[in-house]
Symmetry: C2
Subunit: 110 residues, 2 copies
DNA sequence: TTTATTTATTGCAATATTACGATTAAGTAT
DNA sequence: ATACTTAATCGTAATATTGCAATAAATAAA
């Protein structure tokens, strides 16, 4: 039905999925990479850098901002977006923990 | 339009997004965690463990298998699913690289 | 062969996501 | 005030995802 049944999962699982979903679009990956490269950025730059229309980029930025992954400061007519470093570290830890799960028993059937 | 314009992004960005999307649903996160915990598993276990219907779980498993994240071995009537360790290491590296991007200049405007 | 058992597939309904044109909002400059 | 610039919002169309009932397929057990 297109409706994720969040209530049957742990908070960690839901958080993991929510953040992963934010990384689940190449435009948002590109935006984050660009923000890292420039360390500060306005939306217009991104529209030029990435090939999508301005409302589309704005929408992706909003999504990242809602999740707290990026921050936005109004600077005159333009907006300065950048990575939320604190949140980034927190997310990094979440993912590293997830990836560091190791199988105890190596005698796998596959 | 619901259609991601993959052609305007790098291969790395697309791969990153594709894998992240697989992690972008709590059921799939839960499946992976369960596979790590048990190191081998049949689909039925997952149906009991997670609260979703059998076809739904089967669909999520297929998605993970198509991406190469998990492997499945037929064992009689049941199927033994497990993590594809090689692929897991590769994905782990991809994400670690992504998370290790650091801002050069700390004098941020935000 | 018939009957369970277990997983995959099909078909479909409901919801979510992606993209963008048109417009609005808010600040700058003239 | 008027014109310009930049980003957000609205509305909408197209596509994707999620979930499950029903069914099929495949093996095992009787």
């Amino acid at each position: 039905m297109g409706l994720t049944k969040s209530e049957m999962f742990t908070e960690e699982q839901n958080r993991m999925a929510l953040i992963a979903k934010a990384f689940g679009h190449p435009a948002r990956v590109a935006i984050l990479q660009h923000l890292f490269k420039l360390n500060s950025c306005v939306c217009g730059d991104l529209v030029n850098e990435i090939g999508l229309a301005q409302p589309t980029i704005s929408q992706h930025l909003k999504e990242l901002k809602t999740l707290g992954i990026i921050k936005g400061n109004i600077e005159g007519t333009s907006v300065c977006y950048c990575i939320n470093q604190d949140e980034w570290q927190s997310i990094k830890q979440l993912f590293i923990q997830f990836f560091e799960q190791e199988t105890i028993e190596k005698g796998n059937c596959c």
